[in-house]
Symmetry: C2
DNA sequence: CTTGACCTTCCCATCATTGGAAGGCCCACA
DNA sequence: TGTGGGCCTTCCAATGATGGGAAGGTCAAG
């Protein structure tokens, strides 16, 4: 089958299939004489695996790990579990971070009248001179979760 | 003061200060004869405002809104509140999404022995043939929260 | 044989941020 | 006065995963 059908069947866009091929996540498929990529049901199966892993927020790098574990019939389940639990930790760190943001904002919004007057604790907090939560900047390095 | 000192004082890197200038988020500062950017305490104040807003996960676009509201002494607090609450909603949608991922994974991990045997419900779930949660893909469009 | 749907490659944009190269400037110290 | 090191400047590139689109080739149905 062609790339469009493989995309349809797997839920991974043709664009992404080519991208995954370019970074070596999936093998280069056979080509027709005209250069069209040809996919088998097995390839579609792999692509669906990838899509499910992406839906769970795994990075492409982690998915490469999971794929090789999947294909390794002698794998130890603890290795898979480790990848999964590490990812859970990352997710939970991110969740906590977002919850802190949302919590702060909700608190500020609650004390804001929300009428036509200019007084607004939200703006005041952003503009305040106190040095609360200054330079120490840790970079969560966690950009690619939401697609 | 020079850009390095403004960066130090505001908690925004010199790189980012130049970037914010390039996209028009902050005004072009005065320059010395040699071309060095010169910042005032007021500029640093603005930069700190920006950094706090970034820490709360606001996008640059939202920060532009907040900055103009800040500088508008006749602003209505409801306008600020609206921006804040819209952002809270976005955060909460993202949180729910991550929680769903984490929940699924924790559930799968719980049923995974985690020993040296290959049997692993995590992998099996990723590889399963059932068509659960297929194509309908909504794109959360929410990449830039974690720095 | 044409039309339209598909395929190919290649480049660009996103979003916020960092890194680095190449070159100019400034100050303190010898 | 020279020089070294630490600033500053601009410009270009990369990140991660994805989408958009152009220019051109291919295929199948009419």
């Amino acid at each position: 089958m062609n790339i469009g059908q493989a995309a349809e069947a797997s839920g991974v866009s043709a664009k992404m299939i080519r991208y995954y091929e370019s970074i070596g996540l999936v093998p280069k498929p056979v080509r027709t004489e005209a250069g069209y990529r040809v996919y088998s049901d097995k390839d579609v199966h792999t692509l669906r695996f990838i899509r499910r892993a992406r839906d769970l927020g795994f990075s492409v790098e982690q998915i490469a790990d999971l794929l090789s574990l999947w294909q390794d019939r002698a794998r130890a389940s603890k290795d898979v579990k480790r990848v999964a639990l590490e990812h859970v930790e990352t997710l939970e760190r991110k969740i906590a971070e977002l919850q802190e943001m949302a919590g702060t904002l909700k608190h500020l919004a609650k004390t804001c009248h929300g009428d036509n007057r200019p007084d607004c604790p939200i703006i005041e907090s952003l503009a305040s001179d106190d040095a609360a939560s200054a330079p120490p900047r840790a970079a969560p390095k966690f950009g690619a979760l939401g697609r």
